[in-house]
Symmetry: C2
């Protein structure tokens, strides 16, 4: 990848990091040596590094500055933030992930935040508002003109994950009864086209969506052509209340660049753009992966340990409960284990294979649900297929493990119990892996939420119960 | 979401599915009743459904047909495929995921494949080629004109996951020394603009990239303006050998719609478009999630159980090995367990919490690596942060669990051992979760590949070893 005027972003980042390191070193020295004659010199050195750092940073694209901030420790982030030119500060805030953004916002004075946010487009301001303190939001809204304020407020009115909350207002709308020459004159007067758009919106005098006009049409058709003659009359469009995930899938499937957004009366209220959809997709797949392991999307990779630890407590507590249940189940069979202590060594094999094969079913189901490939029509087939896979693998690998057990302990019945327990626990793992995400969705939760922890809770508990129960029944102990 | 002339795709899909169900029912009847007088009637009913089905399907967008195919069983897919109009067949193939595509291709005659592929653009043909049988590829290349054939072959020359393998040839290139009017005349003669593009490429007479010209410039500047005066002179561009993942990140970060691709001599050879990047991002995040659980990206959600089971054998076999090792470790402590059978009930708690908290570190690291947030400069900090989290959670929840153990078994030493084992295993889990993806990347593997299975192998084995080892040492048994 080659970027304009900054031949290699990665090199710049490495240089900035090493400058940060040096600066920290120098500041550390100043701090340690207290008030003596060296301090002045060291302070100068620190200033020199700081100026060099400032120069390097403000050459970067705001998205690159944001990326750099994401890869720094919390304390380094504050050092770097101070050096960012106030012209770029808003754009940088916008490109940050939620946890990093809110941790930075906490440390900034209200006036600076208003300054930074004010320079942004209204849809971008609306993105920032949920993270801003109430008094900053108020100060900010007062400074905006009427149109921008209305736009910000209209975006804020929609729930997260709807099209309304993601829409953009940078669009150009024309009438269908004018000629392309009129459109061209209008665009020339406007001075620029909406960013990242390959089409204009066509509306009637009541603002109702009539179609879209590709920029292409302006270029390849004669100027006297009417808009109505060359516009796309029935474009893919979205309602403000549509799910953002459905919109993202439509962008992917139909290769859209920009699409109109209408309200319940079919009035044009904004548009969706592919760059926002790209960010949305990345964020939601990121969220899914973390949710599966019981992490919140607000988990900041570089958060201080204490903060990160607290964010994980709820799921660890649940995990302790499931592990405790599994432990009590084993406790019921203490008499059996006392007589055949080999059972204690063998039972984790059943639990482990169950847990890991269940993870496979789980990962497939969550992905299939995210891609909308799983529906009520094929869910039964999917479950029966995963059960089939479990049966095949259970018979095969349970057979292998049963034979090893037999060979190792010289007791055929123990081998047979191992075999039967593995088949049964693999079947249970497949069912659990398929049903847990469905159940989570059914109760209105993210199908991935903590699913790994719930799954291993089942496969551990039942794995031990099946294996020890079979042993207790058939080994006559 | 509202689509042109087909108000609700989801409704259509439901209707088609129900038609498929009926058709299958009818076909089933025909099959069962052998040769008797009802057969003719049932055959007619079947035909009627088939015609209705064909009509409905061919109204859909190729991407929607592909989505429908993805949600069907293998046998249903073949029924549906037969009904797709040959004009759309190539486009549908292109939109399918790899495993579904190759399973369909296996069943199609060579002539049909050549027909379907021939209608596609050369970059799209290159996408299909790796899945096509050799004799089909040869037949196909012979039918293409010289330019298309050269383009297909040039794309095929690049390794998967490079920019070269993903590039597109649908672009318009102009010279910098002409006026915008000349460019407009050229575009009118061409009759259409490159699809999904907001800019033209600017090259010199040797084909060297000089810049890009936004379509916007054509619209808002006077016709006599020179291209050189309004073009972007130093646009973000890619080399054919750049990593596709880096390109995708650049599209995300800089909100690109289209970007030029050059060879080592800086000659323009193609372009990258945002719609291809969107598909690439979706596919690679999908692959990551599956890889973590030890599934291949070629795993077809609706594959027959036998095929699906075989695809998972390698990782189950590894899992059996790690579980066997854990079992042998417990086996070493059989004497200890025989004397204090409570240990058998308690040890899975240590293993389970270790496994699940390790998964959290693992998920964070894999995501951080995919987003390029983890690098050699901050890896040490990340590891120490995760170790810090583990220490806090270990002390806190290990303390809780130690107290419960003490209360339950009335033995303080057992509680202390529980506490110590949990702290140690959480530390080990954090280290393993952070180091496994790094190690996988270091040996040139996908950092996510089978990482869950490797991780639980460690946390189980060492969890048992730490807990039982402490018990054996300090309880004096």
């Amino acid at each position: 990848m080659t970027l304009p005027s900054r031949p290699n972003v990665d090199d710049s980042l490495v240089r900035i990091r090493s400058l940060l390191d040096k600066q920290e070193l120098v500041r550390g020295l100043v701090h340690r040596t207290e008030m003596h004659h060296h301090e002045v010199v060291e302070d100068l050195v620190a200033r020199q590094y700081q100026n060099e750092l400032r120069r390097q940073i403000n050459q970067l694209h705001p998205a690159d500055i944001a990326h750099l901030l994401e890869t720094l420790r919390t304390d380094e982030r504050r050092v770097l933030w101070e050096l960012i030119d106030s012209r770029y500060a808003g754009a940088v805030l916008l490109e940050l992930s939620d946890p990093v953004r809110s941790s930075l916002i906490e440390t900034l004075p209200a006036e600076k935040l208003v300054d930074a946010a004010e320079r942004l487009d209204s849809d971008d301001i609306a993105d920032l508002v949920p993270d801003l303190p109430a008094h900053v939001v108020q100060g900010l809204l007062q400074r905006l003109n009427h149109e921008d304020r209305t736009q910000v407020q209209s975006v804020l009115a929609f729930p997260e994950n709807t099209v309304g909350a993601l829409m953009d207002f940078d669009l150009a709308a024309v009438r269908e009864d004018v000629s392309l020459d009129v459109v061209l004159r209008y665009l020339r007067r406007r001075g620029k086209l909406p960013e990242a758009s390959d089409r204009l919106m066509v509306v009637d005098r009541d603002g109702l969506l009539r179609g879209t006009l590709g920029i292409e049409a302006l270029v390849v058709h004669p100027g006297e052509t009417r808009v109505a003659a060359v516009m796309e009359k029935d474009p893919v469009h979205f309602q403000t209340i549509d799910a953002a995930a459905d919109a993202a899938r439509a962008f992917e499937r139909y290769d859209l660049i920009v699409a109109p957004v209408v309200n319940a009366h079919r009035q044009l209220v904004g548009c969706l753009k592919v760059d926002d959809m790209l960010d949305y997709l990345r964020e939601s797949s990121h969220k899914d992966v973390l949710a599966q392991a019981g992490l919140s999307e607000d988990e900041d990779l570089f958060a201080p340990p204490w903060k990160a630890a607290r964010g994980r407590w709820a799921w660890i507590a649940l995990n302790l409960c499931t592990a405790f249940v599994a432990s009590r189940i084993i406790g019921q069979f203490e008499g059996t284990i006392e007589q055949i202590v080999a059972l204690a060594a063998l039972m984790p094999i059943v639990a482990s294979i169950g847990g890991n094969t269940g993870q496979q079913t789980l990962a497939l189901m969550i992905q299939g649900m995210a891609l909308k490939q799983v529906n009520s029509g094929n869910f039964r087939y999917l479950v029966s297929k995963e059960v089939g896979v479990a049966l095949i693998n259970g018979v095969l690998w349970g057979g292998v493990m049963g034979a090893i057990t037999w060979a190792l302990y010289g007791q055929l019945p123990l081998g047979v119990i191992m075999f039967a327990a593995m088949v049964l626990n693999l079947l249970l793992a497949a069912l659990t892996g398929a049903l847990v995400p469905m159940a989570l969705r059914h109760i209105g939760q993210d199908p991935a939420l903590g699913s790994s922890i719930i799954l291993t809770g089942f496969t551990d508990s039942f794995g031990f119960m099946i294996f020890l129960g079979l042993a207790a029944s058939f080994l006559g102990v």
